[in-house]
């Protein structure tokens, strides 16, 4: 493969399952108006890890997830899965690669067809790839239901007969049906109640162990992201702002945006020492007209002159701790 500047730096002993190089996804919403949802992002997701992706609404994190699994064609850039450049493969191989990459959606109410029985929803992938037929197919459905903590008789029911948490389990079973290696979980717990969120997270962690999965976990709940992720990437207006392992990110956030995000999490401890909360001023700017230079500069408490003039470079400030900010 061509030598290139990797954002994750030197060669690692750990193998990369998914590599994204200079990925761009632009949307033309009107004549002359382009939203740069994902703007030149390069990350690598290692085999067996959970990569957490956080950011506010409009930061492009969901677009990134959908583009990686091939639900959208990127504007430019490369997606390397297991050493293969996904976008340059022939149809047949691409289909097989797509089978190994699955996605779980945020809203379990909107992502399941209300007129299909749960068994058929789960078997959609099995049917599309003609993996099992007849009795084997039924058995496979039962097996999947059991894996996500549901019962065989649930296969005959319709989605509306299930609670939010159970529906999310159905979504997970559907993703697992084709034995994927890589799963993008796009805010899988945001629509669920607190007590149910923990159930789904625990299930995802168990499945990761038993099935040897790799996750790209997209969320805006930083607490849960820290809990489940090995490494975390922070996005803002289509750009990656910071990337490090999850402990480092919480102990020593470098980017002012990450610092503000972390200090904004309300702590479930009434006696918590009253920290100086960094309350960001203003709203995120419109993605149609992002600020020049650093995109965060309009809300940044440390903004300098250079921030408006020049886009900060993506650099490794500490070991495996990357940041795009002129302060470093």
């Amino acid at each position: 493969m061509v030598e290139r500047i990797e954002e994750t730096g030197k060669a690692h002993t750990t193998e990369n399952l998914v590599e994204i190089h200079s990925l761009k996804k632009y949307f033309n919403i009107k004549k002359d108006v382009t939203v740069k949802s994902v703007d030149d992002i390069s990350i690598s997701i290692r085999k067996g890890e959970t990569f957490g992706l956080v950011g506010e609404s409009g930061s492009g994190k969901s677009t990134l997830g959908k583009t990686v699994v091939g639900l959208q064609a990127p504007t430019s850039g490369e997606i390397i899965y297991n050493g293969q450049n996904v976008l340059q493969l022939d149809k047949e191989t691409q289909r097989n690669v797509n089978k190994e990459m699955q996605i779980i959606f945020q809203d379990p109410h909107a992502s399941l067809n209300p007129r299909m029985r749960v068994g058929d929803i789960i078997a959609e992938g099995i049917d599309a790839y003609k993996l099992f037929k007849g009795k084997d197919r039924t058995n496979r459905i039962y097996e999947l239901l059991a894996q996500v903590g549901l019962r065989p008789e649930h296969a005959k029911r319709f989605p509306h007969e299930f609670s939010g948490g159970q529906r999310q389990r159905i979504g997970i079973a559907r993703a697992l049906a084709v034995e994927p290696k890589f799963i993008v979980a796009d805010e899988p717990i945001s629509a669920l109640d607190v007590s149910i969120q923990a159930q789904v997270i625990n299930l995802m962690e168990e499945l990761k162990e038993s099935e040897g999965l790799t996750y790209l976990f997209i969320a805006h709940d930083l607490g849960m992201v820290k809990h489940i992720s090995d490494r975390i990437g922070v996005m803002y207006l289509g750009k990656m702002m910071e990337l490090s392992n999850s402990d480092d990110m919480f102990r020593n956030p470098l980017h002012p945006y990450t610092q503000a995000l972390l200090s904004a999490i309300p702590k479930a401890n009434p006696r918590a020492v009253k920290r100086e909360r960094i309350v960001l001023q203003g709203d995120p700017p419109s993605p149609t007209a992002p600020p020049s230079g650093c995109r965060f500069r309009t809300r940044c408490p440390h903004a300098m002159e250079i921030c408006a003039l020049q886009e900060p470079q993506w650099k490794e400030v500490e070991d495996e701790h990357w940041v795009a900010c002129h302060l470093y």
Binding site: S57, Q166, V194, S195, Q197, I201, G223, A268, D283
Partner: protein, 346 residues
């Protein structure tokens, strides 16, 4: 402290095709002047129905008030006519809803929506109302208030819309502000802004707040007292300190155990509450939480527990607090140990 709101034995049902849903079953609580009371609970626990009943927003039918009383500043407001309700409550209770996009009128400029209430309640002229509305927009931290006055809700961002909602609710200087999940639809950094704003205004104006949320972090940071609801009932209530440090209901333990610890260095396994919330068409005879409760005893299924008084103003509706039940602290501690052991195994 003077009593502002007194809710006693409130029961609300809804008629549906499937039968009658018992949405609120015997809820009693009070709010004093200037305090922040949080109500937490899952969807379907009855928290929103409770406050909507206070506001007189429950459509009847299908809603049926089965009993109870709601007194605001000593005067009954439950079951009185709309006109009387307006007289007693008038401009003294304001409400903020979860989704600012659907609760603002999309065809009316934001400024007018703020001025509307002021004109109706404070008998100001249109001109004076406009000045007041601009003042309110400034108070809630909206820049270029004069310009923003003439804009429509779609020209506002999510956070600004929620600020505009707060401005509407506060324009008449209410004594009580009811905030139903005010930050749930917002991003964390915007949530922080809105919470700071609410705390700030609460301090400045001494308005009492009922804050409905499912985020225990938000509760810990803003409320003085907490009410935990489950299956249409109050299962535990007390000060934030009591509730976070000495919780006495297994559901409260469950809630506290299922949130990840952001500050701790090591990873603790989350302990979820297994099962799903009860069916309120035919709620169980005993404790509504018993089917999901790890500590359920025979009596829990058979008989509804009473409110056990744990300490000053700390109530828990759980049989474990009965003198004949096994010691609660021990049970809780053992579970925690087990959880930690399970976590370290992993």
């Amino acid at each position: 402290m003077s009593r502002l709101l007194d809710v006693n034995n409130l029961k609300v049902n809804f008629k549906t095709y499937g039968g009658e849903v018992k949405a609120v079953r015997d809820v009693s609580f009070h709010v004093d002047k200037g305090e922040v009371v949080a109500i937490v609970g899952e969807s379907g626990s009855g928290k929103s129905v409770t406050v909507q009943t206070i506001m007189g927003l429950i459509p009847m039918p299908p809603g049926i008030i089965k009993g109870g009383s709601i007194k605001f500043q000593g005067k009954e407001i439950l079951g009185v006519s709309k006109r009387e309700l307006r007289k007693v409550k008038g401009s003294k209770i304001g409400m903020i809803f979860q989704d600012p996009m659907t609760s603002l009128n999309p065809t009316m400029i934001v400024g007018k929506q703020i001025a509307e209430g002021v004109i109706a309640h404070q008998k100001l002229s249109k001109k004076e109302a406009k000045i007041k509305a601009i003042e309110m927009l400034k108070l809630v931290g909206i820049p270029n208030a004069e310009e923003r006055y003439n804009q429509y809700p779609h020209e506002f961002s999510g956070g600004m819309r929620q600020r505009a909602m707060i401005a509407i609710a506060l324009a008449c200087n209410p004594e009580l502000l009811i905030a139903d999940e005010p930050t749930t639809a917002l991003d964390v950094t915007i949530q922080a802004q809105v919470l700071e704003l609410m705390k700030d205004i609460q301090k400045k104006t001494d308005t009492a707040i009922i804050l409905i949320t499912h985020d225990l972090g938000v509760v810990a940071e803003t409320a003085q007292r907490v009410i935990v609801m489950y299956g249409g009932m109050m299962v535990e209530s007390g000060t934030v300190y009591e509730l976070f440090e000495n919780p006495r209901h297994p559901y409260t333990w469950g809630l506290l155990n299922s949130i990840p610890d952001v500050e701790g260095p090591e990873k603790k396994k989350l302990i979820p509450i297994e099962g799903s919330p009860p069916d309120l068409f035919s709620p169980p005879k005993g404790c509504p939480f018993a089917p999901r409760c790890k500590f359920a005893m025979d009596i829990c299924v058979e008989e509804m527990p009473g409110n056990f008084e744990i300490g000053e103003g700390h109530l828990a509706k759980c049989w474990l607090n009965d003198s004949r039940a096994p010691k609660v602290e021990q049970v809780f501690a053992r579970e925690e140990e087990k959880a930690i052991a399970a976590g370290s195994e992993k």
